[in-house]
Structure formats: structure tokens, C-alpha cells
């Protein structure tokens, strides 16, 4: 969560978290209530996406005219009235619903303090349906810096130097993949963003697409520039209607602002993106199946090689990257490869977003540097029940070794959350070990 300053605003500013999780917890009703009751002269009402604190939903952020920030959580309609009357009316914070700082019994502080936000930088901090909000926090700055000033080879070199590896699961170096596609012969090339996040328990990509859609689009534009593509596809599963809606709106805004379309920002570079909606096939998260689906066929995986980077969509060189991979790219372009490579471990650079769900205290999204041990994330780990209950955490990053089939990941001692070690430490298992044999074991 990036604290958005109140920019000399003389009004109170209220931002309600309206991601799928927030809406499912009743945030839309709160928003409507606020819209009805709040005086627009005194209060500026906004929506934001998901702050990653699913266990605190529904929640809102309140910024006072002085610039102080208050996070209200576990709200209901009565609480909203109280906040309006007591806090905005009488300048007295409503303690009962305030997300407190230190010493919270359920460890919210720890939940937040170990995090390093790159992908989720703006999630929960900006209005996902507003281009201006995105521009205000540096959206499309990387594209502006790149076009006309850097060659595609330079962009690929930055990616390679950053050490970014594909966040879809296989962990293939992004720069290398881009170079294959850039070097492959062919006049027509494609960029595909894989938003078919079907693995049960994983919702990192949904969070990003719903909360900061412009970031994904910006990553795709940079990818298109690097490999020389003119067309991009965003493949998003139909089960994410809110993500589809917000991405669609973001594409229109980006086109109107000249970040997409013919001669982007007055340059020679033309690139446009269209959305393809999934139709409920889990296997389409696998790249060759996804390509078949865009081609209008059954989503059957194909043997590789040839890899999509050589022969992909309609037989043309195609780069497929995951949503989270693309969301990393603008940051890397802005801050430099060295800054990114400075995070994480020797072989796994940067950060990784994890979705936490199951029988745990603090479910939600966390972004931590690669290499952190599974024990360190764990304010959220603490089980609601005894230590042997079915706690699990799921991440498609460490959990999709092949063909889009996910595996369950469990805490295995001090296993580090990074690509090579997670496998060697046997943190990944497909079978249930008897000591971890809760009732849900048969689920996968």
C-alpha cells in the first residue's frame, strides 16, 4: 500500500477497497452508503483495488485534510455512519474499527513489515478505473522513457540483467525468452499476457488486474517494443468479471491517451492489445493450450519444441508471460536492472507475490523478497487451530513445474521461497504426507 498524499486537498478523502474480495465482503454497500450520505463539499469519495488484506475486508482508507491516514477495517453500515459523524464530523477517530499499529494480537504488523512491494506497489492505493490516478504514481513513465530513447536490444539487455524469471511458475528468464522471440525470423510477432489464473488458491494475478490494470498494459507495451510485436492479447479467465471490466476500461483509456495504437507517443512504434476471455478451461493456463484457445480451437497442449517464442500464435514468434511478470517490468525499467537484481537470491531475483488462504489467520496477498523463508512470512501462518491443522499455502510461482498443473506447497522447515531451492527442499509435494493429513487432502 502506497500512502497517497492528500495533495493539499482541503477535503477529507475516503478510498473504499473495491476489489472482488472487498465487494464480496460487502464493500459495495458501504460505498453506496457513503455516496448517499457524505457531503461532497467536505468529502471526496474514491474507489481503490485490493490492498492485500483480505482478512480485514471490508475496509477503507480515510485521509484527513491535514494529510493523516487512517485505515478502517471490518466495517459495516453502522460503522460508516459512525465514521462520518464522529471522525469527519467531530475529528475523533472511531477506535473500534481502526487498524491499529503496533502490538496487534493477530500480527497485522508483521504481515505488512516483511513485505517489499513492486508488483503490488499501487494496489489498494489508486483508483484502478482512472488513468489519471495511475499517471500520478508514475504509470506509463517507463514507456515514455523507453520509446525513441532505447533500442529494443537495450530493453532486452535490461531484462536479462535484472534476472527476472517468469512468474507463471516455470521460472524461465524473461530476458532470454524475449531475445529468442526478437531474434526469430518473421514479420509478425505477438505478445500474450496470461491472465488465466486457474490454480485453486492462487489469486495474485486477479489482485493486480483488478487493482492496477495499467501496470500490466504498460508491461505488455514494453514487451511488444522489445520483441517487435504489433499486436498483444490479454487472455483473462471468465471467472474474473471485474478484472475483465477494469482491463477493458484501462485499454480504452490507454488508447485514448496515445499509449496504444498507431505511432505510440509520436514514434514509429505501433502496438495494440485486445482482450480474449477464457471459457472455463483450466488447462488453458498452459501456454500452448492458451494459444490454441486464442486461435479458436479446443485448448489442447502441444508438444514443445517448437517453443512459442519461435513458433507460437498462428505460427508466428510469440512471447507469453504471466500477469505478475508483466507487472514487474515497468518497475525494472524505471529503477534499473541493478536495483531489481539487488533483491532476492543469487538465482531468483526480485520479489514474489503469494496468496495466502486456507485455515490461517491473515489471508490475503503478500509480496516478499525471493529467498525469504516460509517461516518468515508467517504472521499469517499462525493457525487458527492446533498446529497440525490443514494449513497450506499455495503459490503458482513455486507451484507450476510443468504443463500448468499446479502442486500444493507446504511449509517444509526453512525452505526458501525461491525457484531452485523450493524444489530441492521438497517443499513441493504432490502427495499428502501422513503427518499432514487433514480432511482436505483429497481435494487436489
Amino acid at each position: 500500500m502506497k500512502p497517497a498524499p492528500n495533495n493539499g486537498n482541503s477535503r477529507w478523502r475516503i478510498a473504499v477497497g473495491l476489489g472482488s474480495c472487498g465487494i464480496a465482503s460487502g464493500a459495495q454497500a458501504l460505498y453506496d452508503q457513503l455516496a448517499k450520505r457524505a457531503d461532497p463539499q467536505r468529502v471526496q469519495l474514491e474507489q481503490t483495488g485490493c490492498a492485500g488484506l483480505c482478512h480485514q475486508e471490508p475496509m477503507l482508507e480515510l485521509y484527513s485534510p491535514a494529510g493523516d491516514r487512517f485505515t478502517y477495517v471490518h466495517l459495516d453500515l453502522a460503522a460508516v455512519d459512525q465514521i462520518l459523524d464522529q471522525h469527519i464530523g467531530g475529528n475523533a477517530p472511531v477506535e473500534k474499527y481502526l487498524l491499529r499499529g503496533d502490538g496487534r494480537a493477530d500480527g497485522v504488523d508483521k504481515f505488512l513489515s516483511k513485505q517489499k512491494k513492486i508488483v503490488l506497489q499501487n494496489c489498494g492505493g489508486i483508483d484502478p478505473e482512472s488513468l489519471e490516478a495511475s499517471l500520478a504514481v508514475g504509470g506509463y513513465q517507463a514507456v515514455r522513457n523507453m520509446i525513441g530513447k532505447q533500442t529494443s536490444a537495450e530493453v532486452i539487455a535490461v531484462m536479462t540483467a535484472s534476472g527476472l524469471r517468469g512468474r507463471g511458475g516455470a521460472g524461465f528468464p524473461t530476458g532470454v525468452k524475449w531475445k529468442f522471440a526478437a531474434d526469430a525470423p518473421g514479420a509478425q510477432k505477438y505478445i500474450i499476457c496470461n491472465g488465466d489464473e486457474g490454480d485453486p488458491g492462487a489469486f495474485m494475478d486477479r489482485g493486480v488486474m483488478e487493482s492496477d490494470p495499467h501496470r500490466v498494459i504498460e508491461g505488455m507495451i514494453i514487451g511488444g517494443y522489445a520483441i517487435g510485436a504489433t499486436v498483444g492479447f490479454l487472455y483473462v479467465r471468465a471467472e474474473y468479471p471485474l478484472a475483465l471490466k477494469r482491463l477493458g476500461r484501462a485499454l480504452e483509456q490507454a488508447r485514448a491517451a496515445g499509449f496504444l495504437g498507431r505511432n505510440i507517443l509520436g514514434s514509429e512504434f505501433s502496438f495494440d492489445i485486445s482482450i480474449r476471455e477464457g471459457a472455463g478451461a483450466f488447462v488453458c493456463g498452459e501456454e500452448t493450450a492458451l494459444i490454441q484457445s486464442i486461435e479458436g480451437e479446443r485448448g489442447s497442449p502441444k508438444m514443445r519444441p517448437p517453443f512459442p517464442a519461435q513458433k507460437g500464435l498462428w505460427g508466428c514468434p510469440t512471447v507469453i508471460n504471466n500477469v505478475e511478470t508483466f507487472a514487474n517490468i515497468p518497475w525494472i525499467m524505471l529503477h534499473g536492472a541493478a536495483a531489481y537484481a539487488g533483491l532476492g537470491t543469487e538465482k531468483s531475483k526480485g520479489t514474489k507475490v503469494f496468496s495466502l488462504a486456507g485455515k490461517i489467520l491473515n489471508g490475503g496477498l503478500v509480496e516478499v523478497p525471493m529467498g525469504i523463508t516460509l517461516r518468515e512470512v508467517p504472521a499469517s501462518w499462525k493457525c487458527r487451530w492446533a498446529s497440525r491443522c490443514g494449513r497450506f499455502w499455495k503459490t503458482s510461482a513455486v507451484a507450476v513445474p510443468r504443463a500448468g498443473r499446479s502442486r500444493r506447497c507446504r511449509p517444509a522447515g526453512r525452505a526458501a521461497a525461491a525457484f531452485p531451492r523450493i524444489c530441492s527442499a521438497r517443499a513441493l509435494t504432490t502427495r499428502t504426507s501422513p503427518s499432514w493429513g487433514p480432511s482436505w487432502a483429497a481435494a487436489a
Binding site: 474480495c21 488458491g201 492462487a202 479458436g296
Partner: protein
């Protein structure tokens, strides 16, 4: 078949438009009516074989009409752990229908889905495009009643 002709015009008549064309047809009719599919095969490169292959491959496509609201109960891992089965049973009981069936009044169709991505709020269900989280059977019934009441008020 005016609608289908318009869809073919906007999406194209090549084979690779198949998934999009079917999605749009379903968007208009709620399902894939046989006449519409026949029209597609007669007026495009898309063959009946391809349509059958594609429509039976993807879970979203259906050949039968649906109710006004589609209920999708989530059976992903997190929901499964948190009692998705009970929610599914409770819906079946409350509406007196089974999975993939539609209520006699044409109000609800019940489907299940692999994962809605709201795992931290499990168990969840989605009615049309609205997600309901941290469900208990009792609350779920309340939600269904609201929909039924709203439909009644409209008629």
C-alpha cells in the same frame, strides 16, 4: 438470426473466430441454440465439427437455456477445505434442483466452478457477476431469498 449475422460480421467468419463467436451467441441467448449454430456453419468457415469440439471442451458453453440468474458455487481447494460441499448441498436443497439444473420458475440455474480466486474468503459463490464470501448455509439462503424477492417485485 439477425443477432448471429451481426456477430459474424463483427467477429469475422474465419475458423479462428470460433470461440469468440460462441461466446457472443451465448451472451445474447444465454446458451447455444441449435438454429444459431446451424446459421454459423452455413455462413462461415467454422464447421459443425469444430463447434461441437469447442463447445464441449469449454465448461462455460451450454446447449440448454438457463435461468435468469446463474449461481456458481466454488469448489476450489480453499473453498473445499472450508465446506464448499455444504454450501452446494444447501443451495440444492433450498432451490430443490441439482447441479446444472434450472428452477421451474426459470429464476436460477445452478453450476459449480473450479476456482473464483476469492480464496481468502472461502467458501464463496457467485451469482451472475457478484461474489458472496465467507458463506454459511443460512446466509446463503438469505441471499437467494433477496434475489427471489427482487424478481417478484419486478414482475
Amino acid at each position: 438470426m439477425k443477432e448471429v449475422a451481426a456477430i459474424l460480421q463483427s467477429q469475422g467468419t474465419e475458423r479462428d473466430a470460433c470461440v469468440k463467436v460462441l461466446q457472443e451467441i451465448q451472451g445474447v441467448f444465454g446458451y447455444l441454440p441449435a438454429e444459431a449454430l446451424r446459421y454459423v456453419t452455413q455462413h462461415s468457415q467454422i464447421t459443425s465439427r469444430q463447434i461441437h469440439g469447442v463447445a464441449t471442451f469449454y465448461d462455460r458453453f451450454r446447449f440448454k437455456p438457463v435461468g435468469k440468474h446463474i449461481i456458481r458455487t466454488c469448489h476450489g481447494t480453499a473453498c473445499h477445505v472450508n465446506g464448499a460441499k455444504h454450501i452446494g448441498h444447501a443451495v440444492e436443497e433450498a432451490l430443490k434442483i441439482k447441479q446444472q439444473e434450472t428452477t421451474p420458475d426459470g429464476l436460477f440455474t445452478l453450476e459449480s466452478v473450479a476456482c473464483l480466486g476469492c480464496c481468502s474468503l472461502a467458501p464463496v459463490m457467485m451469482i451472475d457477476e457478484t461474489v458472496y464470501g465467507r458463506l454459511q448455509p443460512r446466509e446463503m439462503k438469505k441471499v437467494l431469498k433477496q434475489y427471489a424477492a427482487a424478481a417478484k417485485a419486478k414482475s
